[in-house]
């Protein structure tokens, strides 16, 4: 059946084109097929990166395209790396990344470990747990804003029920102390299933006979967890931390929808500052330099993680 289809396709190919294709080597044909993807990658990934590097040395403003572009050298970088507000934004980002990764990894691994017990209905519960991850961040941001509402929000009522504080006093998004935690809670709620999924893959890849051997040696459950489960799932946990770490450094949508960087600038993470500089102050050159700094930070972090991952794999 397949042969017949191939024959028909070959017969349907015009003779001059068929001759041309027959004349191309295997390597040439491979390049022919892969070149559209490479061109697309160059156009939408590589070119903007080099363009941003070029702009980071200039005073270019995207809202004034006809203005003469001056070369400022390293001036943009010097100003960013001496700016106290951006330094604070970096600390806010670090706080946000640290807590989201810690909570997501601990809860995600625990959930994966429980799901791996294969209790009755575990497939159903796995699906239910995965739902938040499948939702759009815009939807999640909007409905959590309603949940956090002091007057009508369910979250405020639950907190009020547990602590006895009136629900109108639980102002998660407008309180300076609580607003960063409001975002951390939402991000953890949304992305813990993702970490769980990766950890579950790691737990399921551990061969059963290792546990059987440990049982024969009369190793306790606790000992089995520390000596078998955790070390063998570690590459997967590190992979999840790497993915979430890189994603959370670039975190924008959730913060923008929930607090917009406020109250004041308590939740102004680096990406929000970047957006304000690029599209509110229209300092394109300056914001390009900021983006390059963040890129180098994430790239360096990825290098460390990949190295650590290879080391763990080799054990």
């Amino acid at each position: 059946m397949l042969n017949r289809t191939a024959d028909n396709a070959a017969r349907a190919t015009p003779e001059p084109l068929a001759k041309k294709i027959r004349g191309i080597s295997d390597k040439g044909l491979a390049w022919l097929f892969i070149s559209p993807t490479i061109l697309l990658l160059l156009a939408i990934n590589i070119f903007p990166l080099f363009w941003a590097i070029y702009l980071s040395f200039t005073n270019f403003r995207a809202n004034r395209p006809n203005e003469v572009v001056k070369n400022l050298g390293l001036s943009n970088y010097q100003r960013i790396l001496g700016d106290q507000d951006i330094w604070i934004a970096m600390q806010t980002t670090a706080h946000f990344v640290f807590w989201t990764i810690l909570l997501q990894t601990v809860i995600g691994f625990t959930l994966a470990w429980l799901i791996d017990r294969k209790f009755r209905g575990h497939a159903f519960w796995t699906t239910i747990i995965l739902v938040p991850m499948m939702l759009s961040p815009a939807v999640v941001g909007n409905f959590w804003r309603f949940l956090y509402e002091p007057q009508i929000g369910l979250f405020s009522y639950v907190i009020s029920f547990v602590t006895g504080i009136p629900p109108t006093n639980v102002q998660m998004l407008s309180n300076v102390e609580l607003a960063p935690w409001a975002i951390i809670i939402v991000d953890t709620w949304m992305w813990t299933p993702y970490v769980m999924l990766i950890c579950l893959a790691g737990l399921r890849s551990i061969p059963e006979y290792i546990y059987e051997a440990a049982e024969v040696d009369r190793a306790s459950n606790w000992r089995q967890f520390w000596s078998i489960t955790l070390p063998m799932a570690l590459p997967f946990i590190m992979l999840a931390v790497l993915f979430r770490g890189i994603e959370n450094f670039k975190m924008f949508d959730m913060v923008n929808l929930l607090t917009g960087g406020g109250p004041g600038s308590t939740t102004e993470v680096a990406s929000i500052t970047l957006k304000r500089q690029a599209f509110e102050s229209w300092r394109t050159g300056y914001s390009s330099a900021f983006a390059i700094i963040l890129f180098v930070a994430v790239f360096g972090l990825a290098n460390i993680y990949v190295k650590a991952l290879n080391k763990v794999k080799q054990r």
């Binding site: 970088y77 790396l81 001496g82 106290q84 330094w87 970096m90 600390q91 980002t93 670090a94 700094i293 180098v296 930070a297 790239f299 360096g300 972090l301 290098n303 460390i304 190295k307």
Partner: protein, 67 residues
């Protein structure tokens, strides 16, 4: 054939082997990263980018070195 490989390897300085150099590059990146996000001194933040960039470029170069 194998003798050629051994003599080729011996020309490469021992201190410039990939493992060691990658570890140094990783340490420089980690220090730069901590400098970027620490809340203690603005001067450390100022020099964080240069440190991270040095580490990253070094990592890219030394990862091509022989083991």
């Amino acid at each position: 054939m194998s003798r050629t490989v051994v003599s080729k390897r011996s020309y490469w300085p021992r201190w410039a082997r990939r493992g060691l150099m990658e570890n140094i590059a990783t340490a420089i990146i980690a220090i730069g990263f901590l400098m970027l996000f620490q809340p203690f001194a603005l001067s450390l933040y100022t020099y964080s980018f240069v440190t991270m960039l040095t580490g990253t470029v070094m990592f890219i170069i030394v990862s091509k070195f022989p083991e």
